[in-house]
């Protein structure tokens, strides 16, 4: 087994995830790109488990399991936040989320054009 193949795959997937997080405006798509990054890290961990002989056997795979659990928790809370945002603003576009305290009370119309 040539370990460079899964390693390069993981590196490319991580780059795609970074690109997606920075590029997408829809919050659900941003979460999908985060999943891509988490899976790239999982692939690195599992591949490292086969290439590096650690003192504890299968430590990389155990870490990958932990990352999967963390990702499940993250996506649960993240989607709760996204749905709450949709309920408040009727939009899940991350550009239009008001970052200051006052903007929460004003209508969406003021921020839509400014977000472009």
């Amino acid at each position: 087994m040539r370990p460079v193949i899964p390693y390069v795959t993981a590196a490319l997937l991580f780059g795609l995830g970074v690109y997606g997080v920075l590029r997408r405006r829809n919050a659900v798509l941003v979460l999908m790109a985060v999943e891509l990054m988490l899976n790239a890290v999982n692939l690195i961990l599992v591949t490292a488990d086969t290439t590096v002989r650690a003192q504890l056997p299968h430590a990389g795979q155990v870490f990958a399991l932990f990352v999967i659990v963390l990702a499940a928790a993250e996506v649960g809370v993240g989607l709760a936040i996204v749905l709450q945002l949709y309920r408040l603003r009727a939009s899940v576009v991350v550009d239009e989320v008001p970052l200051d305290e006052d903007a929460a009370a004003e209508p969406v119309a003021a921020t839509v054009e400014g977000g472009r």
């Binding site: 370990p3 659900v28 999908m32 086969t50 999967i68 996506v75």
Partner: protein, 207 residues
Amino acid sequence: MTAADVLLLAFGAVAVGAGLLVVATRHLVRAGLHLVVCLGALAGMFLVLTAELVAWVQVLIYVGAVVVLLLFAVMLTRAPIGASDDLDRPGWPAALVGGGAGLGLTALLVDAFRWSRVDLPAAGTAERLGEQVFRSWVLPFEVLSVLLLAALVGAVVLARPEIGRRAEAGGPPADLGRRPPPPAQATGEPGRRTPPAPTRADEDGRR
């Protein structure tokens, strides 16, 4: 090139191609379905890399639960059916940073491992992994259970805004009506899921 290498190359190509479609497609629902393909190909790579248990957990939790949750969110936020043009912001910086991260890591890992080969270790079956989890990694495992509980409670509090507001006001629930609420909370219990009227009109005008 052994059979394992060929399989890894094939699964890797599928995973990267589907990942590219996830971040590039203009259809919201299709992004979720491409994510299924990408995660499935990754599960195949885990199988080839002898991580049996991780592969099946990946199929169960990612393909089975996370993607379904994401698709639920796509539908609950009334995503438009068909292509939509406003999913992306103009992104040379994103391409620069993402491409830089991906290619930089690729160069680093290629330089570290070259075309070396290793022998695959014993398979990570449920028995071996369970032994490790409950012998060497018990404390992180227990901490993870606390984290899952915290995430559960957090999601419930987020989904029911009146819980957080009551604690914040410090008063009885009857106090709710007199506080100036944000626009979406102005409507009562039945109308909670429908967005306020001016926002909707604005949203429709924007599409």
